[in-house]
């Protein structure tokens, strides 16, 4: 009995745990230590600093990169029930490189940088062709939408609920799908693999 229970809980843990092996920043797409524009040679410094951090964006973790001041076109559609606003909180931080308006080498109070993101990683300031972010995803939204799981009671597949594991203060942000530090080692810095569209189907009840 005991062995059976242990086996069962082991199987359950392995089966549902997405983060099988801990990955690291080092060697990831966000490891800028070897990039030509990063004269510091450091990984973390491009975004973070332990002292005199930029506190203009609320809850920004010891922020050290120039923040975007662009105005964004947000996503909207006839079938969307959520209400989006200008990107805020952590999404604003991501867009500070990924909107293509701020030089990636403008960190640590440096200005005049000349390297910008282009191609697939440049989301741009038109977010109308991107998954909506910076909106509240709560039980009320799930109830109206009918195509979304209740975030408070549905498992994320990462050990707890959608709300706990994927939302930031009940908001959907870039960090809902992406782990900026490559914690899971899944391509495109995803938190959950999109094999069989499992990431999409975590929240979308289709």
């Amino acid at each position: 009995m005991k062995i059976l229970m242990r086996l069962l809980s082991f199987v359950v843990t392995i089966f549902f745990s997405q983060a099988l092996i801990a990955q690291s920043m080092v060697g990831s797409a966000h490891d800028f230590s070897d990039d030509s524009w990063n004269t510091s040679g450091q990984i973390c410094l491009v975004c973070h600093t332990p002292h005199n951090a930029d506190v203009s964006v609320s809850n920004a973790p010891l922020w050290n990169h120039e923040t975007t001041s662009a105005s964004f076109t947000t996503y909207s559609s006839a079938t969307m029930d959520a209400t989006t606003g200008q990107p805020d909180a952590s999404s604003k931080l991501c867009l500070s490189c990924h909107d293509g308006t701020v030089a990636v080498d403008n960190f640590g109070n440096q200005t005049g940088g000349s390297h910008y993101l282009t191609g697939g990683t440049d989301i741009g300031t038109a977010l109308s062709d991107d998954h909506p972010i910076s909106f509240t995803y709560d039980a009320a939204l799930a109830a109206i939408d009918d195509g979304l799981y209740d975030p408070l009671t549905t498992n994320s597949g990462l050990g707890s609920t959608i709300s706990s594991d994927l939302l930031i203060g009940n908001q959907v942000q870039c960090a809902s799908c992406h782990d900026v530090h490559n914690g899971s080692g899944i391509s495109k810095l995803l938190k959950i693999s999109n094999n069989a569209s499992a990431l999409c189907l975590t929240c979308h009840k289709k």
Partner: protein
């Protein structure tokens, strides 16, 4: 204690598995085009499901996060002579669906990949079949049009969109594919939002007058397996379950206008009305020599055509309204349920939207129309306009519009009396058939019973069987009790072997052409047999001198009547 722990573990396991199990979802539907998809069309190795339509970044400008190109083609749109809506080139959600379903873009061609996703079984575009609508949408339910209260009001048979139920879903007041289909959910094949059993889906918007009581809505009749399967395009097996789909289909209809299953009007009816589904075999009657020939024309009939009919044609739909027809019986002259809801011409010659009387239906073509069938008998007074023949002010007429003028008709067989009214279809109907109505008969001209008109016919019951349905054989043919009976009927019909039709016009004589002295009792001589009399005051004339007395001026069977009286 151990039991509780066991239950706890099982509960957690089940809870965790529940979040990953799916009911009817896109994952177990034919829209899962990934390698794990259950349908016959699937990628050879791609595991992502949503990618065939959606991408989270750098999508098409089209919502929702669309991952496909626009087809960029011009479509042939649905149109008909009866549509009120104004479909435009597909837009909104419809253009998204068509990016696979028109067969012009490879299924695996998505914006987020530089190479098209590979499919197994050599599939690239949507294979030919029901899912490939092509760019010709003229045979498909109209889409991309505004459906608002104004449209409902001008159409007259559409629900106001404000009262349409939840599952049906207009997009910015426009009807798109997504009104009826939910691309993620295949609860009701194929991806319908509401089942179409009993045509529940169609009826969410369409409200045909009279449908609630119509036979096509209510009948539980099934197909007996012979002939063509009338329901090869649905999964239902009774008339009522098929409802609208008995005659219509929303996609790839062969009859483009009004989306009928077949192009030729009668084909829509005859897969069932041949005894294989409907009890009575109308097709067999329509195969008889003298018929309303449905096959003589096709696509000449127009719904709402101006009346009286100007371009000679006949289709089932000229006499029957399949949305309203019921099996309710009626007594003459009232129209029965089988022909209810059809336009006609009234006794004054004015069009009516819905007939009240059976004869109003026949008058649509057999009264004031040009090119109508003429009588095969040349008579003293010729008239092919039946409305003028049956006018109630005429000197004599068979009682079709109302009771006849003759107050004394002793030959009538019970229950017929001098106050009786009869139907056109009491005489004009199919012979040897359990089906009512003038579909086709072996007897000229589409008569239910035999009616000889050739001179020198030996009298039998069978020779003038039509007349003897209402007029007693013995009282007419063998009776000698009065001068009239002996010298007129028995002598002419029996001894002289003269048919009824030589003296009597079966319809009536119009008051502008005849009068009550010369044309009472339906007297209107067959001029191929009867000539004017010879000698002084020679003429062709019958004179009614009162009850069972009269005189004839004529020459017939080598006998001069100048006059002969009774």
């Amino acid at each position: 204690m151990k039991m509780i722990k066991l239950c706890k573990y099982i509960y957690i396991f089940l809870l965790l598995t529940y979040s990953l199990t799916y009911g009817q979802t896109v994952v177990n539907s034919a829209h899962n085009l990934s390698v794990s998809g259950p349908g016959s069309i699937s990628a050879s190795s791609e595991t992502e499901i949503c990618i065939f339509c959606h991408t989270p970044h750098n999508s098409s400008p089209r919502t929702p996060l669309w991952n496909r190109d626009d087809p960029g083609v011009t479509y042939t749109l649905y149109s008909s002579s009866t549509i009120q809506a104004e479909p435009g080139q597909p837009d909104g959600a419809s253009i998204l669906c068509l990016s696979c379903h028109d067969g012009t873009i490879a299924l695996g061609s998505v914006l987020s990949r530089t190479e098209a996703i590979d499919f197994s079984a050599g599939i690239s575009m949507m294979p030919a079949g029901r899912s490939n609508l092509s760019t010709d949408l003229s045979d498909d339910h109209p889409i991309s049009f505004i459906y608002n209260s104004g449209l409902a009001a001008s159409d007259g048979e559409l629900k106001d969109p404000a009262s349409i139920s939840g599952p049906i879903h207009l997009e910015n007041e426009r009807l798109q594919c997504t009104a009826c289909h939910d691309p993620h959910k295949n609860d009701y094949q194929p991806f319908l939002r509401v089942t179409n059993q009993y045509s529940d889906l169609c009826l969410e918007c369409h409200q045909k007058d009279g449908w609630e009581n119509a036979s096509h809505k209510l009948s539980a009749a099934t197909w007996n397996g012979s002939g063509t399967n009338p329901w090869s395009h649905t999964s239902f097996s009774t008339v009522n379950e098929n409802g609208c789909e008995n005659c219509h289909r929303p996609h790839s209809a062969n009859g483009n206008q009004r989306l009928t299953n077949y192009l030729f009007e009668q084909d829509n009816c005859l897969d069932c009305h041949n005894g294989a589904v409907a009890e009575k075999n109308i097709l067999a009657d329509l195969g008889k020599v003298w018929k309303h020939n449905l096959w003589a024309t096709d696509q000449v009939h127009e719904p709402g055509e101006s009346l009286p009919v100007q371009n000679k044609h006949v289709e089932c739909i000229d006499c029957h309204n399949p949305h309203k027809a019921t099996d309710q019986t009626a007594t003459a002259p009232y129209a029965s349920g089988k022909i209810s809801g059809v336009p006609g011409i009234d006794s004054d010659g004015n069009p009516v939207n819905t007939i009240q009387y059976e004869y109003e239906l026949c008058y649509k073509c057999h009264a004031d129309s040009p090119d109508k069938p003429e009588s095969g008998i040349s008579r003293d007074i010729m008239q092919s306009n039946t409305r003028l023949e049956y006018d109630l002010s005429n000197p004599s007429f068979h009682p079709v519009e109302g009771p006849g003028t003759n107050s004394d008709v002793p030959s009538l067989i019970s229950p017929y009396t001098k106050s009786s009214v009869i139907y056109c279809s009491d005489c004009h109907a199919s012979n040897n058939s359990d089906a009512d109505g003038p579909h086709g008969s072996a007897n000229y001209p589409l008569l239910k019973y035999n009616y000889e008109t050739t001179d020198y016919t030996t009298v039998t019951y069978q020779a003038y069987e039509l007349c003897f349905q209402c007029h007693d054989y013995n009282l007419i043919v063998t009776n000698e009790s009065t001068s009239h009976a002996e010298r007129v009927h028995k002598k002419h019909i029996d001894d002289a072997r003269t048919p009824c039709s030589v003296c009597h016009d079966a319809h009536g004589i119009n008051s502008d052409q005849g009068n009550s002295t010369n044309n009472s009792h339906l007297i209107n001589f067959d001029t191929n047999v009867v000539r004017p009399s010879m000698g002084a005051s020679a003429r062709l004339e019958f004179v009614d001198n009162g009850n069972f007395t009269g005189a004839c001026y004529l020459y017939c069977h080598n006998r001069n009547h100048n006059p002969r009286s009774y």
